[in-house]
Symmetry: C2
Subunit: 150 residues, 2 copies
């Protein structure tokens, strides 16, 4: 079992690594010239919640708050993000996407989706996709729930 | 099928995002105070090949070569990476891990592994791990092969 888990971890890392390379390299797409992959990742994370605190964003991207602040400024200059008042957190503002920000995320998701489709339709059966979904729904639920416990 | 694929992509992204947060936050581990997650990711990518060109590294991390050069300098100051002469590529040097670099990667992998083990042993059956391995071996092979085609 230990050996299988080690292999699973290594494979997951490889898929992230080679997947990133493939999507970025083979797509000579405009959005990759305009935005760095870190900026795109940040936009995508914001889009998954309606708005998000800088601290939570730093935690999800695995970087310090100072890095988030720099990235925020760059994205704000490009008109992609803005701040909104927080109902719950009186201390601070929350980060949200602008309409333009939502458009960039949609475009990025389409680029990723087209790539995944190319890979998957050639080499995977629908039953394998179902199995993938089953495993990842479970994984995602576990990780989200654990993340909420402070 | 389209809907399933979209869900698969979204779930994969969520697992990366919440997995990163969980591993970094819940482990008050020394290596996360000493090294940023980007530095750890770079060390890990180098460790997957014996040595690697700065260009390939930039491509795998999805950043510009200038970012790699900055990260390299920081890691070199910490004694974790070094350069070696390339047999194939006369133009440039390749980046390799030092012994200390290998130690940091091993420690990082252990931290990740312990976390995955905790999640998986409670909630997943061995047959699910087997299915995960089967899907990810295939995905990794496809992505690697495509990555080699220039």
């Amino acid at each position: 079992m230990n050996k299988k888990l080690s292999e699973a971890v290594a494979l997951f890392e490889e898929v992230i690594m080679y997947g990133t390379e493939r999507i970025i390299r083979s797509f000579e797409h405009q959005i990759f010239e305009e935005y760095s992959s870190e900026q795109l990742q940040m936009l995508q994370i914001i889009s998954k919640s309606e708005h998000i605190s800088p601290g939570k964003l730093a935690s999800l991207q695995g970087v310090h708050k100072s890095a988030i602040s720099n990235r925020y400024k760059k994205l704000e200059t490009k008109g992609l993000v803005t701040t909104v008042d927080s109902d719950e957190d009186l201390r601070g503002k929350l980060i949200a996407l602008t309409d333009k920000g939502h458009d960039v995320v949609s475009m990025f998701n389409e680029v990723i989706y087209e790539h995944v489709e190319k890979i998957v339709l050639d080499d995977f059966q629908e039953t394998e996709i179902d199995e993938f979904l089953r495993i990842f729904r479970k994984l995602s639920t576990i990780l989200k729930t654990e993340g909420d416990r402070k």
